[in-house]
Symmetry: D2
Subunit: 370 residues, 4 copies
């Protein structure tokens, strides 16, 4: 390189993880940082999701050294934030909110960032679209333990969450059987029962309740009693937090208690209440798996998926292919236009192969299907 040869401008991108954390995100971060450095692209990491874009110290260079040894770790070395919406930030000492989007774009451009790579779920993908409209090119990488993103077969974190939840079903089996109890396990899934379905099948649950199939309490009682009649004195119910009784059952409950319906927690607490109020002669116990589903070391599957998604996104950056979303379709990693994201959330296919397999091995969904 001679003295007068123009020094090539280093390319620079910004990486952040929005929304709730999920096992495997560190694999994405590591994969992306390695890939970008191979392609001669510098990476700035935004701390705590969108917060870092607003915080003067929130953007820090991410080198290969930073991502060493993070593959087996849960969480995300960048931090996540579910509380910060970059477009509506409340002003201190005032009720008004301001859209900080344009200010963020200015800042990113002022430090030479050519593109923004966002790891996240639905809300994060919407933010990516909005940033694009404002003039900052984006790439999004799907991550959610719920696996409810419509455009991708699988998102980073789902396999680990299912593994954790099915271990919990295993653990409850022994105590359920020892005490001849009904054990209820509430897992995540407000709109989609995918974790409940997969963990219930993997753990050998007797009943699985999901938002997609409103349940009838009497069906559940029939199942528990049928098991008892066969000498199986215990039952395991896996319930997604968004599961709910079908309309007629709700009316009945409300009719019986005019004026005040107890404020219930998730679907698990409601079901516990319903089972205890029924004429069932079993002890019932509730376990809410909660944040344990997000934690712990990611599964090999999620580490591999995350590594591939991260390096794939780095390739897109190298080629200047912004405005894309990384997805898995028909078992292959690929990318689709970012705006394709308007599809509704993925839910359990109630006529699909897995629900059918579950019914065949004797799992009841609290409906009248059989």
């Amino acid at each position: 390189m001679t003295l007068f040869e123009p020094r090539p401008r280093t390319r620079r991108v910004c990486l952040l993880s929005g929304g709730g954390d999920a096992p495997g995100v560190n694999a994405v971060v590591r994969g992306f940082v390695h890939g970008a450095h191979r392609h001669g692209i510098e990476v700035l990491g935004s701390q705590y999701g969108f917060e870092g874009l607003l915080d003067p110290k929130g953007l820090q260079p991410l080198s290969i050294e930073h991502v060493r040894g993070i593959l087996p770790k849960g969480g995300c070395i960048l931090g996540c934030s579910t509380r910060c919406n970059p477009f509506f930030v409340p002003e201190v000492h005032g009720a008004t909110t301001v859209d900080r989007g344009p200010a963020i774009i200015d800042r990113l451009k002022s430090v030479g960032v050519e593109g923004l790579v966002l790891i996240g779920g639905d809300g994060t993908a919407l933010a990516a679209e909005r940033f694009t409209t404002l003039g900052m090119d984006c790439i999004s990488i799907p991550k959610t333990i719920d696996n409810d993103l419509a455009q991708t077969d699988v998102s980073c974190g789902f396999d680990s969450a299912v593994e954790t939840a099915s271990h919990a079903v295993d653990a409850l089996h022994s105590t359920a059987e020892a005490h001849a109890r009904v054990m209820v396990l509430e897992v995540m899934g407000r709109n989609a029962g995918l974790i409940a379905l997969h963990a219930g099948v993997a753990g050998g649950a007797d009943v699985i309740l999901i938002p997609e199939i409103p349940y009838r309490l009497d069906r559940i009682l029939v199942k528990i009693r049928a098991r008892e009649a066969l000498g199986r004195r215990f039952s395991i119910v896996v319930v997604a937090e968004g599961a709910r009784p079908c309309a007629s059952d709700v009316l009945e409950v409300e009719a019986g208690r005019p004026g005040h319906l107890p404020r219930l927690g998730g679907a698990g607490a409601r079901l516990l209440h319903e089972l205890e109020a029924s004429d069932l002669d079993h002890e019932v116990r509730l376990t809410v798996l909660g944040h344990l589903q997000r934690g712990g070391s990611p599964s090999a599957f999620d580490r591999i998926l995350g590594t591939q998604m991260g390096t794939f996104a780095a390739d897109l950056c190298r080629d200047g292919m912004y405005g894309r979303r990384v997805v898995v379709q028909a078992g292959r990693l690929t990318s689709i236009p970012l705006k394709a994201d308007v599809a509704p959330h993925k839910q359990v296919d109630v006529e699909g192969a897995l629900v059918r397999a579950a019914r065949l091995v004797g799992i009841d969904f609290g409906d009248t299907a059989e």
Copy 2:
């Protein structure tokens, strides 16, 4: 053996597991059954604890075949029951209760049972004393995940419960750190904080709250803020279900809300409420570990301990040494008289080595000790 030699009468004992289940009980059952058969003693197993003593079909022979392959399994192949008190059984269709103890003794003697071996906690040990008074010789084997039995260094199930709980602390660490949250983990322990103390130390908790040390909320807030000042934006609190605020704090809360104190669940729900009502600027999340602590495959320690306790009890039977309780004292397996059981429950030694070590590594107990 000649024709006229008197045929030796086969000796027979009955084995049951009372109270809540605990990992490692199957090792006790397996060890006892193997040992007894070596000594030429038949074993009858009582199904579902004391229930089996009252149920015509509740006593079944336990052979070597029955205990094959049960070592890695949680729960108890005999079943447990926390609902059945043999001495006060409610009569059907009537409010009166009857003491079924004498009837049980008659039944056991009528089938040639010479002694009763009870695996259990405090309630079970009391039952053992009462059966002895009524004329049935007993041996008791300590089992409780809480480890609160006074006469023994360690009970079957504690090590596994601590292992499970400390894995949960590990799992919460990653999500706490990613989200800069305060994560509260409630573990078992109504009167004794031993699980909380051990799991908190093993998992690297920041605060441990136990029944033995009433906590002050302001101390916890000081700790969380001190960590924040050092750039540690998250904190992990492990709380025993029986932990409670010190008296002055309780009064303050009640004073502030005359007339209605919300009905709270365990100590975790109370603490969550208190932290959310405080001026702390962190998101707080609660996880109740619940029945997951009892389930899953027992640790190697509990399998070894259970195997030794079971075979030791079989040796006591062989030698006719009834009226004994199997214990570990000063690291050695031994036995003590059954009536020695009147000692109060074991609790955390708040001046002991482990609490001191915990304080030295920076763990706060919510008190003003330092």
Copy 3:
């Protein structure tokens, strides 16, 4: 049903597991037995693979009771056998072998078996073809931890094996780092390096050696030294048992030691020997994962896959759709003609996305690719 109504003949099929065992096979067995019973089809289980077809006591009815609680168990309740080829059975007291195929068919037909369902790998699928030729309809279900069956995206057992192997890589990391050593981990894969590739990526290996890419020792040394130069004093090498040096390296070794090349075990032992004979200044240690890859509780993924494959095969039986092989293609469970099985074994796609991602995160394959 009137007295004169002809009693419908009960349909009956036979199920067996051939070849090496794999985690998740019990889920297949459970799924198939449940599905078949729903469809009114009786199942006979053949004990120890093909052995049971030859043994008078080797065929036993499989009821719902037999498959209770087997989902979390490794191995296969039916037993497997890698030693028995039904078509060439050595005669006792003689060197001749006989084809027992026709005798097996006669026996199965004499007890009313209409079809044979075989869980297994390549050898088992070949047997299925041969049985079909001899007049017994067959369905095959793919199972192999190596995942080298060409017609299916994934086989039962692979995900669990990768999970186990990547945990082993995790475990070796800490001891490698503490001692500044080169740790070699040999995993299964004689012809296909799929376990090595996936576990190596998931565990963050530094070098992965697979049969598909002959390695050059000097490349491995370069990688280890490059790490050392960056202050990383340890390296992790994951090697498939079938990996081998490229031709020129082999000749060199043989030239150096004319007359006697030590009989080496798997590729791990060979590599250990080569590294120790090199001028590398590190301690090198070998771990052969061996049978630990087949054992242990199956992953949730394999339990779900197995349940689906088993129930799917039962549906095929119900519909009389014999001569089919259950497969996963483009992420969907489906079936293809049994004879399609002539395709060569699946291997790692050395130009594929995962190898490329691996190279981008800095993993070396011992070749001169970069």
Copy 4:
């Protein structure tokens, strides 16, 4: 503090980990660093054991920041070394060795180190004695997965190693049963069979072979055949690497093959050879657990033990109580004089309670005891 008040000299100690790494050492390091800082004592960490004492850059300050988050990690953040003996260091370019002990002492004193704290096994404790003789006060903390240190009930790392090894026995069970094989698992223990004994009991092995009880091959064959006669077609043998046949067996083998006895690896390889050369009609498979025993996240027990040992050693430093060794005796943490270390290694008590319990549950030790 007034201007003229003499500034108190900061106290300073040096910490190192010698010998092979063991799970839980990071807990010791973390506990010691926290405790020392509380007591106002600075800690220098020596990198890679004794190597750091000789390397100009090998001594680095250890702050609270350095030990954050290391509790769940295997290995040792300081590094270990089994290759470096500080008292006999080979000179470069010459065959002579020199004792670097005095130079090390000079160096440590020159940087104000008042005492040396050594985490390690037997060799490390000997070095501690020697350093003391040379004028540097020492404290030693016992660490060895083998648990063969005589003066302490338990050493850091043993519980984790037993847990790992018993999981391996669990995993081998399923594949052994599926294939009707004899599975041999070799675990660590050259002189003491403690890991083999504990893991074998916890995992439900059928035969345990340890250095303390020379085995007779014919006894093992009798056991395997007795199981087969009961319909148990598989057997699990756990063998310590230092197990060996009794003298008469060895002679027989040598007599049969005059002139060349194959060079065998550990006891597992020898046993595999013996079993395959016998007239046993089972397939036999060997798994050598190797370095997997040292790796992985430490058990809760080892993390608690390590934390206590580390803080206890810091208390000793604070009080100037050098020349002590931290031990657990009769279940209590305490210290004894360093020179008490001359006791021989701990071995399995072949007449003790655990061997007896093992025999009662049917485990054979390859001897003629029963």
